[in-house]
Subunit: 473 residues, 2 copies
């Protein structure tokens, strides 16, 4: 051991991506608070505990104030930075928001307890994250720029380096690689990290889903190539579509020059706690908690395949699955190879289904496809198929500006609109993001009687997630 | 890619250790045969499909002829070597056997379809494996010498190298490292493999249980250090106390110089098959299929801890668990640091329980402890605590010869004893290994009416596995 010992840092995902991946985002604050004191002693680099799908789920199903959750967690974790996942200009909602809403949202998240903001855009369009990142820095908080990792003929190492530099130039404090589909192999990871390390000087943070069973090796190689921080989930919320187990990664690096210094026995106690908690959410367990390597064959994220399977089953067209899986890469190519993550995964997937079901490519075109091809989600990295674009928007010119530049300030209007049903700025923001369910939530709150979904009754047939829509013109 | 491309070889464990680890060894031949044609096209180095606990389970619970199973698998897998796990002089039974029984058993296993014999001894005492290994070679089959991996002050790299050389000198074709407790870390693995590679010229084969969630990284490092063959289980029978998922390891090495060349899509089809099969055995699922890193804290295999917990619960002494876990390393030290694997894990564990429960160390001493300290299981690597030995066997001299040298030939006597209830040499061997249940099995077979345990009714309270006893004098 030398003095140059390089401690590996760990972000714990139990309170956000762990249960979002494995338990339909259903974990309640009541099951988090009892373990926070112990979590807070561990010495994590951060605990991801807010954002992603949790905000929506809190309002919609748990009838739990998302801002209350954040404040409570902030009180319960005084020594550990709280991390959130933020979809850039899209925040946590279903459309792009005007800059004034984005700024206020970041202000309030910071004020209520978020320390680390992981900011990404599905198109990797830096223009869609700049407002959020700037506002994080204006609040003196930690901004983590985030590359959505994918593979395609245009997603070269050079491209990812440029993107990383873009985030660094923007003032980001760290750079995350978000491998939502679990596409990274150990070898690809080594190459990517080595390349980024040569060109980007801010610390690197790896987030790679364990779906295909290779994420532990991916992290092992990443750390040896210079990655500074890895994302793990305590073992009862690890594996499958979630992430490598915290204890396993801590044990694997123990005694090496990357030793995390985290206490394995304390982590085992946390694991024992969450093992019991998980049982309460049995009705939200998905059928696919095992290893699934299909992403290496067809490059399509596992979650997207399940959604498509549901869509096709609803239409009695299960037999079209293979045709749809074959069509997806073609649509993705026509669209200039967007990463497949919310919302692009839904846009590409739905269009592929229509291309197959209608018997003719682009005979039926969704509004989301139209918006996408207009440029309303941002700029694609690859070339758009101009024939397809013509079919979708005719002679209309696609936009070349930042999509949110089309939006006028909207906070005042939203504030007036919601009126005294909102009791705080945070309420207005909840209303901005999820108008209908926020109003329902406010109403239940005012009545003194929340009606959360039950943990006991069987889960209703899963519905396809809503599509994030582009700003309407 | 160069011409020196070094293909990584894979042993598939689905048909033996996979279900032994996860489904109490209960998988039936009927659930294996339908997928054999596909398994046989993969190009595995071997398929482990016999031995271990399967022989006992076939006779005891499934009422399935273990020799019939072997012949059927051999017919169904014409292109793939069938591998078995053999406990040296102990074969698959509960005591040491005379050499004539060991030789005949190997002859019959070879004749009925075993191609690769993985031979180990719990004490790593080469004298306990020599008869079996020689007989494998006499049958022109593949002998795999096996190191039981453990950690202790006396288990040095030099020791493992000597042991490996001992197996090589004995004529073994490959050398396996059997990490039954999942104690190997990636770094320890790298050191071990590099050291063995320098001194042993036969190919290395790694078997490391995934209990602690680090086995994928262990294999990744092992292969880069020169390991030639790794043990994996198709994903629905992987993870937890089993092994790394086959598809994940194949995907991880794909495109590297260690590419296995195995077809990922074909493996996914096999996985889909076993995913359904596993559901049939739900009643045999253990509660601990997740990641458990406690072995890195106390060096005690997970399976041993569950057995001890059962023992203590039966005696209403759950509160003694911590005391027992503290006592185990002390007993193990007194015993000269045996690896903790059947039967040594039971001997050490039971003695530790008695030391705690009786309130005084070695106040009560089991027959197995006595036999162990007499040398009847073989030679311990470390020094035996002579005070403890004196307490156990008084002034009696421990033996210094090979334990089986105390046994006279027994095959003829066994043959006479079982008489015409046995209809073949194989039957005599079944009777030699499991006298009581073999006779029951023969009786049911003669009556034309097997009574296998049901797959539907709830599992009875798990009983502690029988202890393998030393040869009685
Ligand atoms: Co994620
Ligand atoms: Co094993």
């Amino acid at each position: 051991m030398t003095d140059t010992k390089k401690k590996l840092a760990i972000t714990e995902l139990a309170l956000r991506d762990g249960h979002q991946s494995l338990l339909a985002t259903r974990m309640r604050l009541d099951d988090m608070l009892p373990i926070c004191e112990k979590l807070d002693t561990i010495g994590y680099w951060s605990i991801e505990a807010w954002g992603g799908a949790t905000f929506d789920t809190c309002l919609r199903y748990l009838k739990e104030g998302p801002w209350v959750r954040l404040r409570e967690l902030n009180k319960a974790l005084p020594n550990t930075p709280i991390q959130m996942l933020l979809r850039g200009q899209n925040l946590l909602g279903y459309r792009h928001y005007a800059d004034d809403v984005v700024k206020k949202f970041v202000d309030m998240a910071a004020a209520n307890g978020v320390d680390v903001f992981r900011v990404f855009d599905a198109m990797n369009d830096l223009r869609n994250v700049r407002t959020a990142v700037n506002q994080v820095k204006a609040n003196d908080k930690h901004a983590e720029g985030t590359i959505c990792y994918t593979t395609s003929p245009v997603h070269t190492l050079e491209y990812f380096i440029d993107l990383g530099k873009g985030f660094e130039d923007m003032g980001c404090d760290t750079l995350a690689i978000k491998d939502m589909a679990g596409l990274l192999t150990p070898t690809a990871t080594r190459e990517l990290i080595l390349a980024l390390k040569q060109s980007v000087s801010i610390p690197l943070h790896l987030h790679s889903h364990a779906t295909a069973g290779v994420a532990e090796m991916v992290q092992w190689e990443a750390v040896h190539a210079g990655c500074d921080i890895i994302d793990t989930a305590i073992s009862p919320l690890a594996g499958g579509t979630s992430h490598p187990p915290t204890e396993a990664m801590v044990a694997a690096f123990a005694g090496t020059e990357y030793d995390t210094g985290l206490n394995l026995v304390a982590l085992q106690e946390i694991a024992a706690y969450f093992k019991e908690v998980r049982k309460k959410y049995a009705r939200f367990e998905s059928d696919s908690t095992g290893v699934d390597t299909r992403v290496f064959v067809n490059q399509i994220p596992g979650g997207m395949i399940s959604n498509l399977a549901n869509q096709l089953r609803d239409q009695g067209a299960q037999d079209k699955m293979d045709a749809v899986l074959d069509e997806i890469p073609r649509v993705r190519k026509d669209f200039g190879y967007p990463p497949l993550v919310t919302p692009t995964s839904q846009i590409v997937g739905t269009q592929a289904v229509l291309n197959v079901m209608s018997g003719k490519k682009y005979k039926v075109i969704t509004n989301e496809t139209r918006d996408y091809l207009k440029g309303l989600y941002g700029r694609a990295l690859g070339e758009i198929n101009e024939e397809v674009r013509k079919l979708a928007i005719g002679d209309e010119e696609p936009i070349d500006i930042r999509p949110a530049d089309l939006l006028v300030p909207e906070l005042d209007a939203l504030t007036r609109e919601v009126g005294d049903r909102a009791t705080s700025v945070e309420d207005v923001l909840s209303y901005a993001l999820f108008p209908t369910i926020a109003l329902e939530f406010f109403e239940e709150r005012a009545s003194g009687q929340f009606k959360p979904e039950s943990l006991d009754t069987p889960l209703e047939a899963s519905s396809t997630p809503e599509v994030v829509t582009a700003p309407s013109l």
